[in-house]
């Protein structure tokens, strides 16, 4: 009998095999990767991915984990193809099932939520900023469905909304969860504003935890609105993807 090797520290680079790829919007693909740390991921954390060219040139980027521990031994990433994007372009055009991708994690200790943090829980996402919030929603549904939760999700169009079917099903089936979808470039063409925040808070009560994620300008605007609505700064956590 040989002892199993000790688990690698989370900072160690490891190869993870892509086990599934699925388009989820015209610009976003979902990737499932087999990792040994899938069960220890906290909702909101990310991984660092490192790609290496034949000549040794490397590029690193961060990607949030969309999945909550589900016993599958995999994590899900959702990567939006940016125009000219060095790493997101690789995922959009090249990465396929069976490929080994170097990554490390799970990373991040500020933008995380677990049932021990309690609620009510307010989630505010713009575009691909929904990804870490999705992990929180998935975790909540599994382990703490009694915690009241609202999601304000701003997207350009419904077609570009990530996991829209899942979010709408949750809003329909999960008593404590409500969704406000704002489409900025179709229908009423509404950006996040004071009314959207007030509407979410009306159904939720005073949130114990607030998580805001998206592009730089989105997070800046949403944070100002949340502070203006009277939410204590210490309850608000932000994550900025760039842009």
């Amino acid at each position: 009998m040989t002892e199993p090797p000790p688990p690698l520290p989370w900072t160690a680079w490891r190869e993870a095999t892509i086990t599934a790829v699925a388009p989820i919007t015209p610009r976003v693909k979902s990737f499932r990767l087999a990792v040994d740390f899938a069960d220890s991921v906290r909702a909101g954390q990310h991984v660092d991915v490192r790609l290496t060219a034949e000549d040794g040139y490397q590029a690193q980027r961060s990607y949030s984990i969309a999945s909550a521990p589900d016993g599958s031994g995999t994590i899900e990433l959702m990567i939006e193809a940016l125009p000219g994007g060095e790493v997101s372009g690789f995922f959009a055009e090249v990465a396929a099932v069976g490929d080994a991708i170097e990554l490390r994690g799970p990373i991040g200790g500020a933008f995380v939520w677990g049932p021990e943090d309690g609620g009510p829980l307010l989630l505010v996402g713009g575009g691909s900023g929904i990804v870490p919030l999705l992990a929180m929603l998935r975790l909540r549904a599994r382990v703490a469905p009694e915690i009241p939760c609202r999601l304000i999700y701003a997207v350009r169009t419904r077609a570009e909304a990530i996991a829209l079917a899942e979010l709408e099903a949750r809003a329909r089936d999960e008593p404590g969860f409500g969704l406000s979808l704002l489409t900025t470039r179709e229908g009423a063409a509404r950006r996040i504003d004071a009314d959207a925040v007030a509407g979410a808070l009306a159904g939720l009560g005073d949130p114990a935890r607030v998580f805001v994620c998206g592009s730089n300008p989105f997070v800046a605007a949403a944070s100002e609105l949340l502070l203006a609505a009277g939410i204590a700064p210490a309850r608000i956590r932000t994550e900025r993807f760039g842009g």
């Binding site: 490929d99 200790g109 944070s223």
Partner: protein
């Protein structure tokens, strides 16, 4: 191990030489922080040096503005992997702060403290000799709140999380004490050229 099918978009050699491992160049100025910008009022702003809990010296905004000024220009590196070249800062060097307080650094380590209750540890050796300052101006203008204004620490040779935003003081500590990110697994020192992102790197 090469990643199948990855060719990459190599920056020119002149750029690559200035990029620490794992970093890429950005032209904008991304923002990294854990929460919203804290409200900071210049009328009540104070910058305080402490040894442990004991205040050593404190300056109002006007008093701080009267201290000798230092400029620094160069490259900055964020642990989220962007680097920005040729940034220009102005403020009060750590050396001038010590001189104005009439002291030598009482210990070898300190924690920079922000108005958002963020903390980060920096060895004194990494601040003396012109290596660190409390910056009030970026690109010739007051630092905007998104980038840590009215005043932020600037320790540009370390990853930028060490350059605490909205800084309200420096607390000297007997030993090297972990700050906010360091308690969450980030590296105690954070040298970008040795890619010290996380504890153990």
């Amino acid at each position: 191990m090469a990643t199948r099918g990855f060719t990459g978009r190599r920056p020119p050699e002149t750029t690559r030489e200035r990029l620490p491992p794992g970093q890429h160049l950005t032209d904008d100025f991304p923002v990294l922080q854990i929460g919203p910008n804290p409200p900071v009022d210049l009328a009540t702003w104070r910058f305080t040096l402490r040894e442990g809990a004991r205040p050593i010296r404190s300056w109002t905004w006007d008093e701080f503005g009267a201290l000798p000024r230092t400029r620094w220009g160069g490259d900055i590196h964020c642990v989220t992997k962007w680097s920005k070249f040729d940034t220009a800062w102005e403020g009060v060097s750590f050396d001038d702060l010590m001189a104005a307080a009439g002291i030598a650094a009482p210990t070898d380590f300190l924690l920079a403290e922000g108005y958002d209750d963020y903390t980060t540890n920096v060895p004194v050796a990494d601040l003396v000799g012109g290596k660190g300052m409390v910056a009030t101006h970026y690109d010739g203008r007051p630092i905007p709140p998104d980038h840590g204004g009215p005043a932020r620490l600037l320790v540009p040779h370390l990853y930028f999380w060490k350059s605490a935003k909205w800084v309200k003081g420096l607390r000297f500590t007997q030993k090297d004490e972990a700050g906010f990110w360091e308690l969450r697994g980030y590296h105690m020192y954070g040298d970008p050229w040795r890619e010290q992102r996380f504890d153990g790197d």
